[in-house]
Symmetry: C2
Subunit: 267 residues, 2 copies
């Protein structure tokens, strides 16, 4: 098993590593040499063999091809594949079930879900999980230096294929993949896309740390930032939800934080 | 309601503030001016009126007396009071219940619990919660510059009344109070006390952030550090627990972290 990562959060690498060990399968993970140490350490701790590459996609793909040729491993891409979309979408099913359980007998479930959008695998999976339920699914992205490619593509009707952003939400720097795009845009299973500023991400992140006591990475705080601070989102909800309001599900995904640099975000 | 805080974590201030608001009671919290901003903000957000004092106990007590005289409020001390001990001890009951629930029908419950020891209110409460159950309760403290007053007192037979430590586990810098001491030492409801170094606390803290994804303050990581790194504790468990080992409960208490200084611990 090998992955040519376009997986800036490292969630995919860690999940693959653990899943492979659990099933007694050998995993090879190709990672850029410049990857953050905690991601390397966690991926290795979960049992995978890590093979380093240069940081460009060309270099990564070359190393990955060699690993596959040498070992017979099968490529497991991080988001642009139907199986990955469906697997990530199971979080949407779990979220819906857990909310119904919390609400008890009189519960009507969620009205909407906001999920982060990087490569779009998870967002499109969550959208599929809500298909036919009446639950609306929205995507959320950082605005900074063009990381809101999904939103720009969604409203212009043309998928944006290249992103080069240094947003602090480093898990969401990737462009939306072709398979997710088909679900998000062409099938319109995502009802809207919203973006937030770096300061809004930091404010939401601080709230999650200080009040919810959860370790999340900046990318994880983007959906909450949309719900709290995006005025377009607020207007839309006020219009659509009426006086009753909505029960809104917020997806937090990814806690790969480099502790020594975390503090710098809050200086 | 007023508290003259010897409450370096700010847990007591925040809990009182929230409890008072929930019960529609006015709360006045006396805090040193030099308190960390997140503690002040959280305490205020939960609804209390904050009154600042100087940082010495004499200054705090003077302001507290004036608040009580002016308002008729009742003092709620942070640990050295039977009601507080019993209230904090309810976490021991919850922990025992939750473990039994997790273990299912064949479960035998916990064998032991390790709790942090600052003023000793929570440790003595947890010890009371386990009285007569066969569950052993252990205290844990930072070793640095004498913060292990509880351990030194426990093994010398004499309560240590003054502590002046700058351990990173700032919630555990207080000496053990008289009421907790009676439970911990005189009634011997605590079976042993252990200490850990600053580096051991940091290593446990890093593990909690990186793998458990929980925001805790350094004080919270002290019991886990004892379980992972204290050789005396390890020897004792190996001797007492035999081949079967123990199911050990670890208490995490307090997540009042100043995010801008957190990163400095991990440089």
């Amino acid at each position: 098993m090998a992955t040519e990562a376009n997986d800036p959060q490292g969630n995919h690498a860690q999940a693959l590593s653990l899943a492979a060990r659990t099933n007694n399968i050998k995993a090879y993970i190709v990672m850029p040499e410049i990857s953050a140490l905690p991601k390397i350490a966690a991926t290795r701790d979960y049992g995978a063999e890590i093979i380093f590459s240069g940081s460009t996609s060309v270099e990564r793909e070359a190393v990955t091809s060699k690993v596959i040729a040498d070992t017979g491993a099968r490529l497991v891409p991080p988001y642009d594949h139907p199986d990955i979309v469906l697997g990530q979408g199971t979080l949407g099913l779990e979220l819906q079930d857990q909310v119904l359980e919390l609400q008890g007998a009189t519960g009507k479930g969620l009205d909407a879900i906001v999920a982060p959008c990087g490569g779009g695998g998870m967002l499109s999976g969550v959208a599929l999980s809500a298909e036919g339920t009446g639950i609306r699914v929205f995507g959320s992205e950082p605005e900074f230096s063009g990381a809101d490619d999904g939103m720009r593509g969604y409203y212009s009707g043309q998928r944006v294929e290249k992103v080069s952003s240094l947003t602090i939400a480093d898990g969401l720097r990737t462009p939306v993949g072709e398979i997710p795009w088909g679900i998000i845009y062409e099938r319109k299973l995502v009802s809207g896309m919203y973006n937030v500023t770096e300061d809004e991400i930091k404010a939401a992140l601080r709230l999650v740390y200080e009040r919810m006591k959860l370790v999340v990475e900046p990318s994880s705080a983007v959906p909450l930032a949309v719900a709290l601070y995006n005025e377009d989102f607020r207007s839309m909800v006020e219009k659509e939800a009426g006086d009753e309001g909505w029960d809104l599900g917020i997806v937090f995904s990814g806690g790969n934080v480099d502790l020594s640099s975390l503090g710098k975000l809050f200086l």
